[in-house]
Symmetry: C2
Subunit: 678 residues, 2 copies
């Protein structure tokens, strides 16, 4: 890991940059001088420390912490007022008077709530809210707000684009854990309360994370997390009983196997009493799982659930299960159907501390996918949403792609699973079907790079993810604006430029990559750069079926794979019908002629040409806009973003030229505007 | 390396299988009882040992070796008769009478000649020649007959398809060298006299092969080789003076660098007095070279030549130099021109102990390429041919592809470089331009697999390579037949079946892979399996430019890249003109419409469809023919070949379907016979 002078690095501090100039009234400054505190606790201590750290920067003086005071002060504590409804992690912040003195009360439902309140209060200050009139009651929408790391103990990160792991190096847990602490603080600042530290693909060494050999070091990370209100989770290898337990089977119905898992759980909890639970990728992409023993996913998951139940842990079972050895010749098969086909029949069969974790789309984190039909289909099963902050298919943190709008689309999608207004948010938060656990998880985009995320503007995704899943009613614009203010603390015009770039970025990336929801026009394996046919004749089930006259996957019920039939009728009808199918997903659902006219009046082929040219032009615009920020924002951030933009400029041209040339060569249809196609 | 019971393994013994039944006259049996020998020498000892080994199997008794005898005997010695013209390595074998006793004289020009004579005599016996009338004078066509290993010290073999290296393991030279000895024997049996043991891509560890750290072990290999008349060569890293010499430069004109190389050479020769020399890949595919210092290839090569000259060593400098960062958009560039463009201007500038090693084709070992125009273009430069026995692009030893016909085509090609009958053989043997060193090199196809070559029938390529470059007048059929007799010792009908399969195999592979010389329709990096566009938008300079109406690379002088102009006018005219261009290379030289009519009357598109269907049918035929051999040949060989055929069966279908589907989707032109295309 590179040496970073943490204190002074604007890249490293991200949105927790307390050095920015803030104008506060004398009244508020007076309040900030004193913190009143009557309670004790690990997380409360963190909250006090964080608040003091900010106040020191704001008023140049560390606040006094006392039990009782007649002065103006901030009060930190748990809420007692029964008229305010808080859920775990929730808080209220209110300015009022007490004994003719001004006070601000930050009251949490619990310790986590107090910490969340403190970060919220600091955020309010640095985003320029009117603190004189502060009055907030804020509850999390989702009970579990989780980050999944795909970090391997080698130090490599699967689909990592921001350096090596901050947790592991050379098959050990890192000795110096100061960076882990800083990371926990960053995550706590956006109310993340669960982190899986290792990759869902659990290799030999990571399998041992649940053994006495590695648990003492895992415990140290859990201790750090605990102080920030974060639970530690581990990805586990379903074949652990064989690989480390010495058994010849991992059959979930085998008594000895079950006993082994129980003992293993007991041992984990002896190190980490608040251990969160297991994340499991089973029977997927060649990972072991219950299928080996003729058991189903419920039997597999319930075995682990049984082991964890006593201790309050949960099993998070991924639904990313599909046949990765499909025959491209067989158009009746459809990978998009796999998650539904595998898990819908098991609805209601999972124990109450099992959660199914479902990717937002039915395939795999493309720049544009419809919602997975499992949201809505499962009515008696805990269900987490899985997003990917890591930009595997969305530019790999070389290209700018602000992902909050994509996630918001997914959460806002109305599944009609329980009549109108059955949006996905209500399913994953547990409210629609009254399920016990609600939550969202996302694959982390961080690593050992100085700015954590490789591309400094990709910090907005990390920040935005936390904020959105706390409060799904926030708009993408609001979240972007918060992040820009906190990170750059900049003038209004600077803020507007950066917000504009962020908000446009996802559609710009989509424009010069793949059109109309078709997806997968990438180089195999590493998933960077254009290759229209890269996955066309592969066993991965990821095709576009482009020929000289048409393109797209017919997933209709009438003539196609029938995938659309997995949605509720209202939704299915919309997708099935060309006239009502959202055009940005046209080629995901339908195979159409290149001459098919879109609502814009353009043909599909002209749309492909136009968007690819426009996308590149937009990147050039981004760069022009960014140039105007020189000397107006931190120079290290400015330079690093510019460096990334230069890559995006070059590589977006490669995308444009390869995709346009591919379709031009295939169709022979000229661009209306005679632009250069090769 | 797997454990092999060498003595009894038909797979391991290859064509040196002395257990076969042979009918000999009593007269010959009598002769075989005694070997007369008046000379001593390391290689002669090997020859005697080999001959005794065969005789013991033939007559059940080890022959007596004596200095003088009045009995019938075999005489081994150097030729004294001045009327017979032998060149180094050459030999004569003749049956005659002496003192009324029958004798067979095996006379060599030198020790190597004696060993070659012995192997030739054994071959004559086991291929059923009439030994009673044996009378052979045989000289090698090429002075240097070389194998290049692309073995890394890690034990991996670059483009190796037959297991791990037999020379290296875990960054060391292997301890137990018995397999290396067996390999030397195999190679000596086909008169190979030079072996480069390490990959032309010389990494960190291999760079040290020329240092005191590793030379003691290298010497042990050289000692083994020496007994078989084989010189050891090493691939060297041009940047060695920096990487191991401690210099800041590797500039070939730098006095200290030159001195370092001289001292290094001196040291190598102190270990290995008959060290062959250096093989160098410089300024190619990111390898270091003289370009870094603004020097040309002649200056780079001559520096090394100077260091080796005193000791009789040579520098073999590869001409595989091209820009591997081309822009696919720019149709004026042409990788095929690179070797010519880089080296033609330097003709005559190389020292006399420098040899340029040129791949047979101008691009890279495709199943069908024209001859490299450097053959003929260089008139004052030593030139080796480079073939690839390893089947990188020709089925990776999973598919059967007997390559001798391809090599023979290359050697027989008339370049017209010095008028008619200027065939490539005459250039590489040095006779046409009276160059000092003539020779052929080829990339090995062997590794630690029991049968050496992964696919047992790929042994025919290893055998055939040695035989062909010794005697370029042998036909592909003769060579195949020799190999089959030696390996299977089988009945006439068995022989015919295997020979037929071998002789057809190259065209069959070509049929279901890529049509009409277009090449490169493979998956990038590993080069196995179909991907029509795999290299289409890459920087590697390997394109087919297929669009909806035409396909092929226009390399004409009139309208294309001008590559054709690098040949002599007679040859160039033939390639330039569509009517005279060999059709198997049509798409290598021309971009034509899919509707273009071939001489068969078929259109190009129908030819593509037909050949792809035919290729697969031919594979099925191979399998049917092979099945008839069960219980007629060694069962281990039978089974292993069948296993490989099953892979070929499956994967040839994948080739067929992907390629046909690709062109059907692109052109929309129906197959005349309405066969299944997806």
């Amino acid at each position: 890991m590179e040496y970073i002078n943490k204190e002074s690095s604007s890249l490293y501090n991200c949105w927790l940059n307390y050095d920015k100039e803030v104008t506060l009234s004398d009244e508020i400054k007076e309040i900030l001088k004193t913190i009143q505190l009557n309670e004790e606790g690990i997380i409360i201590n963190t909250a006090v420390k964080e608040l003091s750290r900010a106040i020191k920067k704001l008023i140049g003086k560390t606040p006094e912490i006392i039990k009782d005071t007649m002065l103006s002060h901030i009060y930190l504590g748990k809420l007692k007022d029964k008229t305010i409804k808080l859920v775990p992690g929730g808080f209220s912040i209110k300015k009022s008077t007490l004994n003719q003195k001004n006070i601000i009360e930050i009251l949490g439902k619990d310790e986590n709530g107090i910490l969340n309140g403190v970060f919220s209060f600091i955020r309010a200050i640095y985003t320029g809210s009117n603190i004189n009139e502060i009055n907030i009651v804020d509850n999390p929408r989702n009970m579990v707000r989780m980050i999944n790391h795909w970090d391997n103990m080698s130090g490599d990160i699967e689909r990592g684009y921001a350096g090596e792991s901050i947790f592991f190096k050379d098959n050990h847990i890192v000795e110096n854990k100061s960076r882990i602490r800083d990371y926990a603080r960053l995550m706590a600042s956006v109310a993340i309360n669960g982190i899986v530290i290792n990759n869902v693909n659990v290799h030999k060494q990571e399998t041992k994370l649940i053994t006495d050999e590695l648990l003492p070091e895992v415990k140290k990370i859990a201790d750090i997390f605990r102080a920030y209100g974060i639970k530690l989770y581990l990805s586990v290898n379903f074949a652990s009983p064989m690989e480390i337990g010495g058994f010849l089977t991992a059959d979930p119905l085998d008594f000895n196997v079950r006993t082994w898992w129980k003992k293993t759980a007991e041992n984990i909890y002896s190190y980490i009493p608040d251990f969160g639970g297991f994340l499991v990728k089973a029977d997927s992409e060649s990972r072991p799982g219950p299928f080996t023993y003729g058991r189903n996913h419920a039997e597999g998951a319930n075995m682990l659930a049984e082991a964890l139940r006593l201790f309050g842990g949960i099993v998070i079972w991924r639904c990313f299960v599909y046949n990765c050895k499909l025959d491209w010749r067989d158009r009746s098969t459809d990978r998009a159907k796999a998650a539904f086909d595998n898990f819908k029949p098991l609805d209601g069969k999972f124990d109450e501390n099992v959660v199914l974790q479902v990717k937002n789309g039915p395939v795999d984190f493309q720049i544009r996918e419809p919602i997975s039909p499992l949201f809505g289909a499962l009515k008696q099963t805990n269900e987490f949403m899985e997003f990917q902050i890591a930009q595997e298919y969305t530019g790999q943190q070389k290209h700018l792609c602000y992902l909050v709008p994509m996630w918001k689309e997914a959460l806002d999608f109305d599944t009609f699973a329980n009549g109108k207004d059955s949006n996905v948010s209500k399913i994953v938060d547990g409210s629609l079907f009254k399920t016990k656990y609600g939550g969202v998880a996302a694959v982390s985009n961080i690593g050992g790079s100085e700015c954590w995320t490789g591309h400094p503007l990709a910090q907005a995704n990390l920040y935005g993810y936390g904020r959105l899943i706390w409060n799904t009613f926030l708009s993408s614009d609001e979240i972007a604006r918060e992040w820009v203010k906190l990170t750059f603390g900049a003038e209004k015009d600077v803020e507007q430029i950066i917000v504009d770039i962020l908000l446009e970025s996802r559609e710009v990336y989509e424009k010069y990559t793949c059109p109309l929801g078709v997806g997968w026009m990438v180089n195999p394996n590493h998933h960077y750069g254009p290759s229209v046919e890269g996955y066309e004749y592969s066993p991965w089930g990821t095709y576009n079926y482009a020929d000289y006259k048409s393109i797209g996957v017919d997933r209709t019920v009438a003539t196609g794979t029938g995938y659309i039939g997995e949605y509720e009728p209202t939704v299915a009808d919309k997708f099935e019908n060309l006239a009502t199918c959202p055009e940005e997903l046209l080629l995901f659902f339908h195979n159409v002629l290149y001459s098919y006219k879109l609502k814009t009046g353009k043909t599909v082929i002209q749309h492909i040409y136009d968007t690819h040219f426009e996308g590149v032009e937009k990147v050039d615009e981004f760069i022009n806009k960014w140039e105007t920020l020189q000397n107006k924002i931190d120079s290290k951030i400015f330079d690093l973003v510019m460096e990334k933009f230069q890559i995006q400029k070059k590589d977006s041209r490669e995308w444009r030229d390869v995709v346009n040339t591919y379709f031009y060569r295939k169709t022979g249809i000229d661009d209306l505007y005679k632009r250069k196609i090769y």
